[in-house]
């Protein structure tokens, strides 16, 4: 269905692009948020990704990859560029707001949830971006190895070894606390 909307956009029906944005905005903003740990940056970058996608729509080849995969590629490239530029800003880790998002009515459980969330987010943020992106795309976005390979421009073997490395690093950071 998204591919049809893309065709409509190419034929000048700009309104179809709104449907594409609505369908894919959650995935893209989520990916960007997990990469940057900054809600505002994720939203801004997300908008930029869609604008860039519209501009480069003629370059998209449906035979090579799904539109969502292509969009993730744009998001990933933009995000890595921005991370290189603004890293010190974003490493100042968010989110005081995290604690407020817990829906558990028990204050103790709420505090524990918030602590766990903070712990995972911090551990993921310490990963190098090339490991982080693979981990997020695979373990949070649940994309296939082939899709992750397409997005990152690496062979599947490299994706697998990067994911393995990321998981081991996270296990070392998180397992003691999780077991406790």
């Amino acid at each position: 269905m998204i591919e049809d909307w893309v065709e409509q956009c190419r034929n000048g029906q700009t309104r179809s692009f709104a449907l594409i944005v609505t369908a894919l905005q959650d995935k893209i903003v989520e990916f960007l948020y997990r990469m940057t740990r900054n809600r505002e940056a994720a939203e801004d970058l997300g908008q930029e990704v869609f604008l860039r996608a519209y501009r480069l729509l003629d370059r998209y080849d449906r035979k090579k990859a799904a539109f969502s995969t292509w969009l993730f590629t744009l998001a990933r490239n933009l995000c890595l560029d921005e991370l290189r530029k603004k890293r010190p800003l974003w490493v100042n880790l968010e989110d005081a707001a995290m604690a407020e998002t817990s829906s558990d009515p028990d204050p103790h459980l709420q505090a524990r949830d918030a602590e766990l969330e903070q712990m995972i987010a911090t551990a993921v943020a310490t990963l190098d971006p090339i490991f982080r992106e693979v981990f997020i795309l695979r373990d949070y976005q649940h994309l296939s190895f082939e899709e992750v390979a397409e997005i990152t421009g690496c062979p599947v073997g490299t994706v697998k070894s990067r994911l393995h490395r990321a998981r081991l690093l996270l296990q070392d950071k998180l397992t003691p606390a999780l077991n406790a």
Partner: protein
């Protein structure tokens, strides 16, 4: 960690994991430990809640898109207005003109003499000198060096003219290639 361990752990969570790797994991302590730690971690991962886009995210994107398109259209219209009048030079005439121009510049470049015959005094190097016996003063040396600059500019100008031979530049407005602006004006009329 042997090769099977590596392959099993790298493929962990893959739906299409080969049978031999699954079999290996059931007997390998290292892989069992990895799987156990990974299971615990996978259970904890959803605790990190995601950010959702703001409710007006799609609207903002579409508004910015419209703004960009408007800006691009304005620029295109401006350019269309600027270039709605063009000068028509037939290709052979343009090419001939350029060739003649380049030849004249080359002649100019190689046979240019700084000093008119019987004019200023020159020393052996052909430079302007106050007297034939005296060396060229530094200020006049600078003048002599500066005479090369217009030659370089002339050469560059010739190269810039070359693409013009490929242009059809009509003197009158084109009737068949009306710009968007003129189309819009025509519709209003």
């Amino acid at each position: 960690m042997n090769e099977l361990c590596q392959r099993y752990q790298e493929s962990f969570g893959d739906q299409e994991m080969p049978q031999e790797l699954a079999l290996h994991a059931s007997t390998c302590e290292s892989c069992k430990e990895f799987a156990y730690r990974q299971e615990i971690m996978q259970q904890a991962l959803p605790s990190w809640k995601s950010a959702t886009p703001s409710p007006d995210f799609a609207l903002s994107v579409m508004a910015r898109l419209a703004e960009n398109q408007h800006r691009r259209k304005s620029l295109r219209d401006l350019l269309a207005e600027l270039f709605s009048f063009r000068v028509a030079i037939p290709l052979p005439v343009g090419a001939l003109a350029c060739i003649l121009f380049i030849i004249s510049l080359l002649v100019n470049l190689f046979f240019w003499t700084d000093n008119p015959p019987g004019g200023m005094n020159t020393n052996q190097a052909g430079h302007v000198a106050v007297s034939p016996d005296m060396p060229t003063p530094p200020t006049l040396q600078a003048v002599n060096q500066n005479t090369y600059l217009p030659r370089i500019w002339n050469g560059a100008g010739a190269f810039l003219l070359i693409p013009m031979t490929d242009l059809h530049i009509p003197i009158v407005p084109l009737e068949n290639e009306q710009s968007d602006v003129s189309n819009e004006k025509a519709e209003k009329i």
